[in-house]
């Protein structure tokens, strides 16, 4: 019988950041629910942008369709 479970995979939907009472709330994607100070949120944003730039380069180097494949175990 086929296993119909959804595999964990990179999310294609973005998390939603909002400001509330002087802090930043990050909701999603998936089970992410974090409250950060404004400074921590800004540093996270910078880190995410840099990681996204590197990931795009890696994906481009691997060729079309390989972006979300990850490393398999088999």
């Amino acid at each position: 019988m086929a296993d119909r479970r959804a595999m964990l995979a990179p999310r294609t939907d973005a998390g939603r950041a909002t400001a509330e009472n002087g802090v930043v709330l990050l909701d999603g994607p998936d089970g992410v629910a974090v409250t950060m100070t404004a400074d921590a949120a800004a540093r996270t944003a910078d880190s995410l942008l840099e990681a996204a730039r590197q990931a795009r380069e890696q994906a481009a180097a691997r060729g079309p369709g390989a972006a979300d494949a990850g490393e398999g175990l088999d």
């Binding site: 009472n21 909701d27 999603g28 089970g31 629910a33 409250t35």
Partner: protein, 250 residues
């Protein structure tokens, strides 16, 4: 009767005779004030605690000083029945509100175990319910976002209280602060506050002054991906707990 809520409206229920037998094993009742630690982690234990009135918690204190609520208990829960086998706890048990508990010595539980295998099975069922809830709490924290976590917790609490007649399916006492809910759902106070506001604005639920009013149970259930199967409720209660049953409340 001190044991009247134990396994009430669950798929395994106790007979009147079994309740009477268990009642006879109670050595005393005790009262604790809100905030008191009833059982401290690591302390040798020779009794187990049945919650009769009020709400209790199990909590783990992290090395960084943060407290994590890992279970919330309602009347009828045998809060530390697992201590019968373990003889000490890996977490604290505390009174969330002023509580009344019935104390059952482990020696008496041992006699019951020899005397009544069906009652023993019922008590085992009770500890398995705890395990089932812990699995759902792991799922909730791992897979649900902030608003879904809070919605799921509210649905679960409503269902458990419905089973013991402490919720009419829409209204129930929820003597928890936003900080308490945050500890259950791994959210900050400000996050809980925002989520509760959002639930209210969407017309799903209102939580204020230690009281919850679920205004649209079916939608709240759907949002939370709440399925009460893990609570092993009687089918009629399970239907009411999800808003499927349109029967009048009361």
């Amino acid at each position: 009767m001190l044991t009247r809520h134990l396994l009430r409206n669950r798929l395994t229920e106790l007979s009147d005779d079994e309740r009477a037998l268990l009642e006879g094993a109670v050595s005393q009742t005790r009262h604790y004030a809100a905030g008191q630690v009833v059982v401290r982690q690591g302390t040798p234990i020779e009794v187990s605690t049945l919650l009769v009135e009020g709400m209790m918690t199990r909590h783990v204190d992290a090395p960084d000083g943060r407290r994590h609520l890992v279970a919330v208990h309602v009347p009828g829960d045998f809060v530390d029945l697992h201590a019968y086998a373990l003889k000490k706890l890996d977490h604290d048990v505390g009174a969330l509100t002023d509580v009344t508990v019935a104390v059952v010595p482990h020696g008496a539980l041992e006699r019951l175990q020899l005397q009544d295998p069906r009652l023993t099975r019922g008590l085992w069922f009770q500890t398995l319910l705890d395990a089932a809830m812990h699995r759902q709490w792991i799922y909730r924290l791992a897979s649900l976002n902030a608003i879904q976590r809070v919605a799921h917790f509210l649905c679960e609490t409503n269902a458990r209280l419905l089973a013991i007649g402490a919720s009419d399916g829409e209204h129930f006492a929820l003597p928890m602060t936003q900080g308490d809910i945050g500890e259950v759902c791994s959210l900050t106070n400000v996050h809980v506050s925002r989520v509760l506001r959002e639930l209210r604005e969407r017309g799903l639920c209102q939580v204020r002054s230690s009281h919850a009013h679920i205004t649209d149970l079916r939608s709240l259930t759907q949002m939370a991906f709440f399925d009460p199967e893990y609570l092993y409720l009687q089918p009629a209660i399970a239907r009411r707990a999800t808003g499927i049953d349109g029967a009048p409340h009361g």
